[in-house]
């Protein structure tokens, strides 16, 4: 069975585009559809989806990249921990080039810090097991797709008695920023393409307050080109028919209730907290921190370090990018002062950032 090819069939894509055009034609005004998932941002650029859609349908990117929404003081603390003697930093690769106030992890590594890129938090636990004299700090970022995996690593470290494994947490949860953006009068979101793999964990029902309470259609969409086109078609159809419901395009993975086992693992280890989103600010209850009983694994508590005062980069407009207010081309630094080799803002660093995607694939 080869699913990926069947979800890329160009003839079906053309037929879906024809349907979308018919729907847009029968609709008064424009449809502004926002995706809030970095993998969708990438898929939309990579497959040139915007160029296929009628002018009336505008696709915009929201705060869907966990690396991009991580505030600068988190990076500053990671840098301070990297400088701490006897400390190993283990992280997903995207994080090492994100600029802090005066440094980043790549630079610290060049200066001699032990910074290692891992594929899984379990790899970080393995590093801790092998280096019992060192403190191993895993950079715990991500939405609900990733956070249960971090919870799993903490449980594993606990059950194996690995006492030198720590997590520096900056986890965020998904429907909250969508609700904030929906309420913003400057930004008229008509429909949401909801994230695929976040929804695999939290379930489709999590978006019901946005659909039913705020009257905004939500469609949980997969990442293949036909998934995205079908997701757009389903949103356009809801708008034409005047409905606002949660629908699941990506039904081969996402269920209404989500993955209950992953949710249980997550809430065993983490509890909700307020969180700062770069570009949006504080959103109450939109973060996750380790529960009190797991405080021994919390790098912020267990390994106190002095952190430099946070300085945002002047001129970077990541904040507006993350809210879908402007496109990368509207930032004066785009392509000139800010490139993937020399990123100024997080949106250019992460491969799933909107600025990086537009740099790589161009505007379509």
């Amino acid at each position: 069975m080869k699913y990926s090819e069947e979800f890329r069939n160009p003839e079906v894509a053309r037929a879906l585009v024809a349907r979308i055009k018919a729907l847009a034609g029968s609709f008064e005004g424009t449809m502004c559809l926002m995706e809030v998932c970095g993998t969708h941002t990438m898929a939309i650029y990579q497959h040139g989806i915007r160029a296929l859609l009628p002018e009336k349908i505008r696709l915009i990117s929201g705060p869907g990249c966990p690396v991009c929404v991580t505030p600068v003081d988190y990076i500053d603390r990671a840098v301070a921990l990297a400088r701490r003697p006897g400390t190993i930093i283990a992280t997903f690769g995207d994080m090492i080039r994100v600029p802090g106030s005066t440094s980043n992890l790549l630079r610290e590594k060049a200066l001699g810090a032990d910074v290692r890129i891992v594929y899984s938090s379990l790899d970080a636990v393995a590093i801790a097991r092998k280096n019992p004299q060192q403190a191993v700090v895993f950079l715990g970022i991500g939405f609900e797709t990733t956070t249960p995996t971090i919870a799993g690593s903490v449980i594993q470290a606990q059950s194996e008695g690995v006492g030198n494994y720590f997590v520096l947490t900056s986890h965020k949860t998904m429907p909250a920023p969508m609700d904030v953006l929906t309420a913003d009068p400057q930004l008229q979101v008509d429909g949401y393409l909801c994230p695929a793999h976040v929804s695999a964990v939290i379930g489709a029902d999590a978006y019901r307050p946005i659909a039913e309470g705020r009257n905004i259609p939500c469609v949980i969409t997969g990442f293949e080109p036909l998934d995205v086109l079908q997701g757009v078609e389903m949103l356009a159809r809801q708008l034409v028919e005047g409905r606002a419901q949660v629908e699941i395009q990506y039904s081969r993975i996402v269920k209404p209730e989500g993955n209950l086992k992953a949710q249980a693992l997550l809430s065993r280890v983490f509890e909700p907290c307020d969180a700062i989103w770069r570009g949006i600010g504080n959103i109450p209850g939109s973060g996750l921190r380790l529960r009190q009983e797991f405080a021994a694994f919390d790098a912020e508590i267990a390994l106190p370090v002095e952190v430099e005062p946070a300085v945002e980069h002047r001129g970077c407009r990541c904040g507006e990018i993350l809210q879908g207010m402007i496109r990368p081309g509207d930032c004066p630094l785009f392509r000139t002062g800010c490139t993937p080799e020399n990123p100024v803002g997080a949106c250019m660093v992460s491969s799933e950032g909107t600025c990086a995607a537009e740099y790589k694939y161009g505007v379509d």
């Binding site: 690396v67 790899d123 990442f223 992460s350």
Partner: protein, 76 residues
């Protein structure tokens, strides 16, 4: 960052599965999914299986695509 890859389960040992796609193999923890068997497709993210792929639902989506194609797109 939430990228996850569907892979097929080859062997299971305790809570760990060896998964394969296009000749690439990778170990994944089964801590988050119940009732996974050899031959199942699972979605792998950061070393964990986060969900099982529902073959019946996948086939239904593909059947819908065939229907859209048969309708020539315009009709709805």
């Amino acid at each position: 960052m939430c990228l996850a890859v569907p892979m097929q389960v080859r062997t299971i040992e305790g809570d760990t599965a060896l998964c394969e796609i296009d000749g690439v193999t990778r170990e994944a923890s089964l801590m988050m999914v119940d009732g996974v068997e050899v031959g199942d497709y699972v979605l792998i993210h950061a070393g964990f299986a986060i969900e099982k792929l529902d073959e019946q639902d996948a086939q239904e989506t593909l059947a819908l695509f065939r229907q859209i194609l048969a309708d020539g797109g315009g009709a709805s």
